[in-house]
């Protein structure tokens, strides 16, 4: 039993091979969140369920069979894991982060400084893109996923990339300046196009880019390494894009509804003045 997934060159089988590290990680996350919720009993159930969903998705992405297939056989599954962790699990975990996390982040000047840097959208775009680009280069990928430690580093860096990406719009710190409204939408739009260079190379490469996946035993006969690479690019672009655009749509609707309520809640000054004049005129006429 290996503690983390990696490319071991063995022929693929559907024999269950759980990874101890994945179960320990989700157990740790579950314990930390459960403990943290105890100090914030009024925390909404919806957010707690989101965090639970995030933990379940982390388990799916880091345990057999998805992790085994992704780390050792199919680049498309590896890209699916990246989408699950970076774009779905991490934002769910951040949305479900209890207020104690925010209070902790605001607890010292140093942490506030770190939070401020993490909340900077320009930093977030550059750091997320740089990290994901580095992890997805053949030089790094082929050298890391062949060992459990290297593969763990990749998965860990995905989580870091997810935190960096979502911090400006989903910061758990109440003091951090969160992007809302159109700014958040623009930020997410930029994040949705940031991975395109990587996907471009995967889509148009004449040859398989990653030795690990090219030289892995085939899982599906007739599904070549280049086919797999093109599918991986599609998953990164289309599935990843859909997830971000779902966020953009949801945030836009949320913002639009709030704005509509705000606009309709107060009567504009010129109408109020006109109404006042009309009322005064009516009163004079009555006299």
């Amino acid at each position: 039993m290996s503690w983390w997934c990696s490319a071991d060159g063995r022929a693929w089988t559907w024999e269950w091979r759980p990874y101890l590290g994945a179960w320990l990680l989700v157990g740790f996350l579950f314990a930390v969140y459960t403990w943290a919720y105890r100090s914030d009993p009024d925390f909404p159930l919806r957010r707690k369920l989101c965090a639970l969903g995030g933990i379940v998705i982390i388990l799916i992405a880091t345990d057999w069979p998805m992790a085994s297939l992704g780390a050792g056989y199919l680049l498309s599954v590896q890209m699916g894991r990246q989408v699950l962790i970076v774009l779905i699990a991490v934002p769910l975990l951040m949305y479900g982060a209890p207020p104690v996390v925010g209070r902790w982040l605001d607890g010292s000047q140093r942490r506030r400084s770190v939070t401020k840097v993490l909340s900077n959208p320009l930093f977030a775009v550059l750091a997320t893109s740089g990290l994901l680009l580095a992890v997805n280069t053949p030089m790094v990928s082929d050298r890391t996923i062949i060992s459990p430690l290297g593969s763990f580093a990749v998965d860990f860096l995905w989580i870091v990339a997810g935190v960096l990406m979502w911090f400006p719009v989903q910061s758990p710190s109440p003091m951090a300046p969160r992007l809302v409204g159109p700014l958040a939408l623009v930020y997410l739009f930029i994040q949705s196009i940031a991975p395109l260079p990587t996907s471009f190379f995967m889509t148009w490469a004449e040859y398989p880019l990653f030795a690990t996946f090219e030289l892995a035993p085939r899982v599906v006969q007739g599904f070549s390494a280049v086919d797999d690479q093109e599918l991986a690019s599609g998953i990164a672009q289309v599935l990843g894009g859909l997830v971000i655009w779902f966020q953009i749509t949801a945030r836009f609707l949320h913002w639009a509804i709030l704005r509509e309520r705000e606009e309709n809640a107060t009567v504009p000054d010129f109408i109020r003045r006109a109404d006042a004049r009309e009322t005064a005129r009516a009163a004079k006429t009555d006299r």
Partner: protein, 220 residues
């Protein structure tokens, strides 16, 4: 007095950074072991043999049950030979799978090279099974077999060790077979000057094949 422990935190961050850097950049990989230096290999990505070897003088049987003399059937043509077995879980299907796209991309003016798969697991590599296995890659690939003794003789003629059947698996139907993992490439001079180990990538094949098809080894 500072309530924080900056050194401990710095140490943790430095350690995490070092761990990430080590795992990302420094992990040893077997992939680096594939192929010799360009200088040793005259810029080929396979491994040049110290002495060229001739095609084995063995009459095999093809998947149609007909006798197949490798020397006469492939005389003057580039021919790639892999001694493998159809139940092989990794080396054989991966090696064979890299060849069709590489040959297509190499666009050889003299036509496609012969690809010959010699099934060394004589108990399981029946003509039907070999044909089915090879058709997964390319219907033009040639499947050959012979008696175990003839196969071992052919292997010895090209300088490869004999076939080893996993002794624990004998008698059952699920056993592994020790076989050479290199593909021998016979150039049009009917000699093999170079072998390609397991791990040779599609791009390496596509880049080397045009040179192998036209090289004059006397001048090279």
């Amino acid at each position: 007095m500072r309530a924080e422990r900056p050194l401990g935190r710095r140490g943790f961050l430095a350690g995490a950074g070092a761990l990430a850097a080590l795992t990302l950049m420094g992990c040893a990989t077997a992939l680096d072991d594939i192929g010799g230096s360009d200088e040793d290999n005259r810029n080929f990505q396979g491994r040049l043999l110290p002495q060229p070897v001739a095609k084995p003088e063995v009459t095999f049987t093809d998947t149609e049950g007909r006798p197949y003399d490798l020397r006469t059937a492939t005389d003057g043509e580039m021919t790639m030979v892999l001694f493998g077995y159809t139940s092989c879980p990794d080396i054989c299907p991966i090696h064979m799978g890299a060849l069709p796209p590489a040959i297509e991309k190499a666009r050889l003016p003299a036509g496609n090279p012969n690809v010959v798969f010699v099934g060394v697991d004589t108990a399981r590599d029946t003509p039907e099974k070999m044909r089915e296995f090879l058709d997964r890659f390319d219907r033009r690939f040639v499947g050959l077999t012979a008696t175990p003794e003839e196969i071992d003789r052919a292997l010895a003629e090209v300088g490869f060790p004999p076939v080893v059947i996993d002794p624990e698996g004998k008698g059952g139907d699920n056993y592994s077979v020790g076989h050479p993992s290199q593909i021998l490439v016979f150039t049009p001079d009917n000699l093999a000057h170079i072998v390609y180990p397991f791990g040779t990538r599609e791009q390496a094949w596509a880049e080397d094949l045009p040179r192998l098809a036209t090289i004059d080894w006397n001048l090279a």
